[in-house]
Each structure stands twice: as structure tokens, then as C-alpha cells.
């Protein structure tokens, strides 16, 4: 599968990640949108200006970008809990991420950002903007990477003694293991603990990882925390609208609402209900696409929302 080494990610100096990028990442479809798919981290590009024909080719005329419903449940509400796994979480340098992730999930519920997923319905009702964070757990034993979902589920079941009995539990496992050659930053999946359905997600340690970095230059968060927040937003939105097996909402290419807007940013910062601000990718909205009110993703399809 996707196992080749991402040389640039490993070679990128931390200072380069922290410094404001001077490459033109303006979307060719909307000057107010930042598209990090255009910033490849190579030699200075001095701005990509897509030829009109080239830009048109990226929109794949005739293809249907809408997500469709596949018969499964959605998460009407979510009870979130973070699990920090690995001995590094005992280091002082990791404390900002623990506190920051708690603030991220704590402010997500009821935010305009959470509302971007509320148009989707499933066999059990409709997604709402309600998410409730119940804090975090720390497991200082040696952590695993993410290449086996069963291992991550086992960690969730080990740490969470009483999963949400209604099946609304979403357990986000933050490993201290770096991505290495993996070609993904995070994922979400599902399973059961003691017969209780659980949603869970896995996240690599993204410190100094340019391949998974949203390039937040606000100075509000460390690079590693900002990176985790961005992919956390992605995974939570997907879990709420497409809990695994059987699926609910994704498009003809298997892309969920987070995938369809990955690495594009409709706003410099997104404000959460607790006053915190984050640089987060948008989430796909069929309604926004149909109404032409969304911002364009990297293929120019105007269905992404940073808030609602």
C-alpha cells in the first residue's frame, strides 16, 4: 500500500516549518482560499499560475463530486476522549499538546465548524453540532504506529473501562510515534469494546512533519499541536458523517467529507465555542456545493465550509 518514505518530510528542518512560508499557495479558483496542495516544499515556485486549460482539466467535468448515502448510521452526537499513548507524553515538551487537544475538543461542540457536518442524515437520525469532551487518558507504555487498526482498538479497549453505552464514544489515540514512511497522517475506524460500539482514531506524532503540517503561522500554538488539531478536525468530521462499517456518506471515489477538502483552508483561523482559534481545513458540504456557497477544494469544486 502506501509505505514509501517521504524524504522531504524527514529532511525538513523545524525552523522551516515554523517560519512563514513565502510560496504562493493561493487557490487558482479563489484568491481568498489557501491550498497547501500547491505548496510542495521543493524549490521556490514563484507562484503557480495554472493555464486555463490545465485548471479546467483538474475539475474533471462530468464527474459528480457529491457525497452519497450508503445506508449506515451517522453519529448524531459524539462524546470525545483523547488517549495519549507513549512514554514521550511524560515529557514537559509534550504538555502543550495535551492541554491543547483538550481545548480543541472542548471547544468543538456547538461551534460553527461542527455545524458544517449537520446536514447529513443516517438510518439513526441526523448529525448535530453536539460533541462533548470528557478529558484525556495517558498511557506511558511503548506506543504502536498506526499500521494495524486492531492494535489501536485494543489500546482503546484497554484504556477506556466504560465506553459510552450509547455507542457515541469517539476515542482519539495520539501516539508519540512519528510517521516515518507512512503516507497518511491519521485515520478513523470503528469496533467494539466489551460489546459496546466505539469510534476511534489514530494520530501520528506530527512534530516537525512537513507532510502533515497546515502551516499555522498565527503563533497561537506549537507546530505539532497545530498539525494535530487540523487532522483531528478532519477525522472527527468523517467519523460523525461516515462511521465505519457500514458506511454512510462518501463520494464515488471513497472520499469522505474531510478528504474532499483536505489541505485547503477557507479562513486563516476558525473560532471555536470556547474562544480558542485553530487553523483548520474545511469540510465538504453537498448543500454548499449545490448552492455554490462553499469555497473550492483543490479540484476547484466549491463545496468546502470552514463554518456555518
Amino acid at each position: 500500500m502506501l509505505r514509501h518514505l517521504l524524504i522531504a518530510a524527514l529532511a525538513a528542518p523545524l525552523s522551516a516549518l515554523a517560519a512563514p512560508h513565502d510560496k504562493d499557495t493561493t487557490s487558482p479558483y479563489d484568491p481568498t482560499v489557501e491550498d497547501l496542495n500547491l505548496d510542495r516544499g521543493g524549490p521556490p515556485m514563484l507562484g503557480i499560475h495554472w493555464a486555463r486549460e490545465h485548471a479546467a482539466s483538474r475539475t474533471r467535468p462530468g464527474s459528480n463530486p457529491l457525497m452519497t448515502y450508503h445506508g449506515g448510521k451517522i453519529m448524531k452526537t459524539a462524546t470525545t476522549q483523547a488517549i495519549f499513548w507513549g512514554p514521550s507524553w511524560n515529557n514537559a515538551g509534550f504538555a502543550d499538546k495535551i492541554n491543547g487537544i483538550d481545548l480543541f475538543y472542548g471547544g468543538h461542540g456547538g461551534s460553527n465548524y461542527a455545524k458544517t457536518s449537520d446536514e447529513y442524515t443516517g438510518s439513526n437520525g441526523q448529525v448535530t453540532a453536539t460533541t462533548m469532551h470528557i478529558g484525556h487518558l495517558v498511557d506511558l507504555s511503548t506506543a504502536a504506529g498506526g499500521n494495524r487498526t486492531s492494535v489501536i482498538l485494543a489500546e482503546v479497549c484497554k484504556m477506556v473501562s466504560s465506553p459510552d453505552s450509547q455507542g457515541n464514544g469517539y476515542y482519539a489515540v495520539y501516539s508519540d510515534v512519528k510517521r516515518g514512511g507512512a503516507q497518511y497522517c491519521a485515520y478513523h475506524s470503528a469496533g467494539t469494546c466489551n460489546g459496546v460500539p466505539v469510534q476511534f482514531a489514530f494520530f501520528f506524532n506530527l512534530d516537525g512533519d512537513s507532510g502533515c503540517d497546515p502551516q499555522d503561522t498565527s503563533g497561537l500554538h506549537s507546530q505539532g499541536l497545530a498539525a494535530l488539531a487540523n487532522v483531528s478536525a478532519h477525522e472527527l468530521a468523517e467519523a460523525r458523517t461516515d462511521p465505519a462499517s457500514p458506511g454512510a456518506w462518501y463520494d464515488g471515489q471513497g472520499e469522505e467529507n474531510g478528504d474532499k477538502c483536505a489541505w485547503t483552508f477557507g479562513a486563516p483561523l476558525v473560532a471555536f465555542s470556547n474562544g480558542t482559534q485553530w487553523k483548520l481545513q474545511g469540510e465538504w458540504s453537498n448543500a454548499a456545493y449545490n448552492a455554490k456557497t462553499g469555497y473550492p477544494n483543490s479540484a476547484g469544486q466549491r463545496g468546502c465550509l470552514s463554518g456555518k
Partner: protein, 191 residues
């Protein structure tokens, strides 16, 4: 917010306490072990039916994967829809293609001619991986072509060399694997 911390030392202490208690209560050991085993079995994590737990589920692709997936899809769409000019603009002037079925490389014009002559069938780009080497990116992936007239799905393994600075394809190498990695029952979002 509630916080519980489990360390290896904590677990070691817990294990010792259970052992000590078991020694002092030898008469109930068998019952305790039986109950513990039953409890352990019930607490087993389980994945949904059909999920083998070995591969990551739908994942957030890295920026590099997302970027080149876009480019590969755009090129495939241009070829499939016979938009020659759009496809040509994605090829570098020095583009060449090699395959496992011919000795010599072919240039951009001949490759485009061949691609545009081919039967139009839906194709899926999947399991894409990227290795970035300065201004070059080595992009490998599978392409599944939909069955035609009762034939099975045709799968090619493709390695593309892209130049990052102008997003142009410099070279393509392709072959039909004898035992291709099977396409997932449900797309993984990286196709």
C-alpha cells in the same frame, strides 16, 4: 477534566497485589481465575464484520499524496475524455513512456496518440505513494480499468516521475503485475 494515568510501574504494582491476594486466599483462586478469564473474554476488542484490522481505515492522506492524486486523476480524466490539449499540457517536453511490453521508449505525441486511441473505460487510480527527491517526485500507484465485454478488470502498476516546480509529468513506466494488489471492496479514499 478527568485524567487517568496508567504507567508500566502502576501495572506492575497491580499485578503484584493480585498475586499476593491469591496466595493468601488459596481456596478461592480457581473461582477468581475463572471469573477473570470470563471477564477478559467479554472485554475483547472486536472489529466489525469484514474488517480484518490489518490495514489503516480511511485516512488523512499527506499533502504529497493528496497533491499527486489530484494530478493523476486530472491526467486520467483528460485522457478518458479525449481532451488532448489538457493532457498535453501536463506532460514535460522531454516526456517519455516505457512499458513492460515494448523495448523502446515513446515520446509525448506518440503516447498521447496511443492513449487517445484506446477504448474509453472508467479507470480508478488507487493506492498511490509518493517519494519526493528535490524537484522530482516518484509517484507509484495502481490503475484499474473497468471490465470490457466480459473480461476482468485490468490492473496496471504505474510509476510516474513528476517535476514539482511546474507540475509536469516527465516519465511514465508501467507494467501489468502478475498478481496485483487487490482493490478494496470499498474505496479507501486514496483512490
Amino acid at each position: 477534566m478527568p485524567v487517568r494515568q496508567v504507567t508500566p510501574a502502576h501495572r506492575a504494582r497491580a499485578s503484584f497485589c493480585i498475586s499476593a491476594r491469591a496466595r493468601s486466599l488459596a481456596g478461592v483462586t480457581a473461582l477468581a481465575v475463572g471469573a477473570a478469564l470470563a471477564s477478559s473474554a467479554a472485554a475483547q476488542p472486536r472489529l466489525p464484520p469484514g474488517v480484518d484490522g490489518s490495514a489503516p481505515a480511511p485516512a488523512t492522506a499527506t499533502r504529497a499524496v493528496a497533491h499527486y492524486l489530484d494530478l493523476e486523476r486530472a491526467l486520467a480524466a483528460a485522457l478518458r475524455e479525449h481532451r488532448r490539449e489538457a493532457a498535453a499540457q501536463m506532460l514535460a517536453p522531454e516526456f517519455e513512456a516505457r512499458s513492460g511490453e515494448a523495448l523502446d521508449a515513446i515520446g509525448a505525441r506518440a503516447w498521447l496518440d496511443a492513449q487517445l486511441r484506446a477504448r474509453t473505460t472508467p479507470t480508478v487510480v488507487r493506492d498511490l505513494a509518493v517519494r519526493e527527491l528535490g524537484d522530482l517526485a516518484v509517484v507509484s500507484f495502481f490503475v484499474d480499468a473497468a471490465p470490457v465485454r466480459g473480461a476482468g478488470t485490468t490492473t496496471l502498476y504505474v510509476v510516474d516521475i513528476w517535476r514539482e516546480s511546474d507540475a509536469r509529468l516527465m516519465a511514465r513506466y508501467e507494467a501489468q503485475p502478475a498478481h496485483p494488489l487487490r482493490a478494496p471492496a470499498r474505496p479507501r479514499g486514496r483512490e
